[in-house]
Amino acid sequence: MNQLHDAFTLFLSLLVEAMPFLLLGVTLSSSLLFLISEKQLIAKLPKNPVLGSLVGSCIGFLFPVCECGNVPVARRLLLSRVPPSVAISFLLAAPTINPIVIWSTWIAFGDRPNIVIFRVLFSAAIATIVGCIFSIQPDSRALLQTSFAKRLQPITTSQSDSISPLLQSGTFLLGQGKSIPFDDSLSVDIKQANSSNFRSKWQLFFTNLLAEFSELGGMLVFGSAIAATIQVFVPREIILSLGQDTITSILAMMLLAAVVSICSTVDSFFALSFAATFTSGSLLAFLVFGPTIDIKSVGLMASIFKPKIIIYIFTLVAQLTFIFTLAYSYFF
């Protein structure tokens, strides 16, 4: 009973710590809904795949959201016909390379600036590399989940097909024999956002904020509950014995990152609780791997990509994280 109460206290402590950051992230991401026009952004994207991936991994600075918030943004980017390489590198980098996360990492690890700097560098490198690899596949539909690809198809065909301007709405396609319902809810969002009506803009902002808050808040409750349980019921000695040498400690922290799934805005505080017992290299592995891949974000990513592609992304990111952080622990 005593232990349960301890666990509950730690659980609350994690939540109270994370709540302000969550609120901040959600507010920013909602206000960007109508502050930044995606159309203009896309027009400025470079065509070169390497540059495109690099830029994609930096878009996070404009959409400061953690891994739960960047999936909707990535979907919207893909629907606006951004190349998948850019979208993938955005998806992987945005949770780390954004002002809020860098700031919170700085607060947590201010006494060890190495960790902050290399967290950003490694995440950007991994996102760019993975983005480049996927740019080899020119047809984005091969990567995407079937129902999502279908939604993309009417847009691409109807717009490239200049013979029939009447079919712009995408509700009926020649040669397919049946009409395809074009789910335009996502573009409605943009239209609404561009409308000058202040009241509807504010309403959109408010609804989006609440929707994101409740969803991510629920996620946060789950993550914190798991984290608090591990803290109280698994003695640190067990984790300590896992993290004995350089290699196993990196693997243990990566495993922990995938299981715990806390948002990137607060995960540096979580990592801080292990700062005393783990090497800098393994903490870095946690901070780099956690935001990109975890149980929760795999669920969200399944709404975009085919399962096979998710496994590819997962494996690539895991291997790169391991190699980079191993190199870090040998050189620093």
Binding site: N2, M19, P20, P72, L210, E215, R236, E237
Partner: protein, 263 residues
């Protein structure tokens, strides 16, 4: 007819749940910041963050609930949600209510033993602030530990007066007339709290001072060789010369309002 009434209820129920969970979280955060309980959960540096988000959540909740009763519901069909509708909010609401009913608890010896009491963690061994000017009798427990970390020779402290407060911890490896006077140090939130402690030599058996009771100890520092548990190999016990406080006067006090030290 029936399906429309169900839909109506849904239209009313989920937004209400959303509004209530916002309100509950606003109230919970404000309660923590006004009662001072936030000190049990996070570093006081974050006080304004907690207070601010409490206020914002309360305002958002009020706007939401008001908009339900004014019947101005914008329909947002397009939200990719991992949860079935309402689950996220129900969870949030449930946790907030539980938080309002069950007060946070001061971490105890059990947690301390699990986390391993000792000096500061290995990674923070670099001295952070070394003030020789501080008078020994005015040093708090954490200041003692910091000073010892910066200059670990036990003999250097012999004879200095100590006046420190902490909770009692019984360590198996120490003889019967020693207790570990400990405190938790918080860097950010209770999750990262780690215990520090200094051995105190008593005149009597330590069973007079039960585990988790809070003491203010007055005494003088001496240097003694004590068995110390190895932090990594848990069964190895080594002898180590360490600073010990020989108690002259011990006072039992109630658990202080801010039981943690902060870094």
């Amino acid at each position: 007819m029936r399906s429309s009434s169900v839909q109506n209820r849904k239209k009313f129920f989920f937004p209400l749940l959303e509004g209530l969970s916002l309100l509950a979280w606003g109230v919970l955060l404000l309660k923590y910041s006004f009662t001072g309980q936030y000190k049990l959960l996070i570093h006081p540096n974050y006080y304004s963050l907690v207070l601010g988000s409490g206020l914002i959540l309360l305002v958002l909740g009020i706007i939401k609930v008001k908009s339900i009763f004014n019947n101005r519901q914008p329909n947002n069909s397009d939200h990719i949600s991992l949860f079935p509708p309402g689950l996220g909010n129900s969870l949030l609401l449930l946790v907030a209510i539980a938080g309002l009913l069950i007060p946070p608890k001061v971490l105890t010896s059990q947690t301390a033993l699990k986390r391993g009491v000792g000096d500061l963690p290995l990674t923070t061994v670099q001295p952070q602030a070394f003030r020789t000017a501080s008078k020994p009798e005015e040093r708090s427990l954490i200041e003692w530990i910091r000073t010892i970390n910066a200059y670990p020779e036990p003999d250097a402290y012999s004879g200095q007066t100590a006046n420190i407060t902490g909770f009692v911890l019984h360590l198996d490896e120490l003889p019967d007339n020693y207790v570990m006077l400990s405190r938790f140090v918080i860097t950010c939130c209770a999750v990262d709290a780690y215990p520090i402690g200094i051995p105190v030599k008593l005149d009597t058996n330590r069973s007079n001072y039960p585990v988790d009771s809070w003491l203010t100890v007055e005494g003088s520092a001496i240097s003694e060789t004590l068995p110390v548990k190895d932090r990594i190999e848990t069964n190895a016990i080594t002898e180590k010369r360490s600073v010990v406080i020989e108690a002259r006067a011990i006072e039992t006090i109630p658990t202080p309002k801010d039981p943690y030290s902060y870094r």
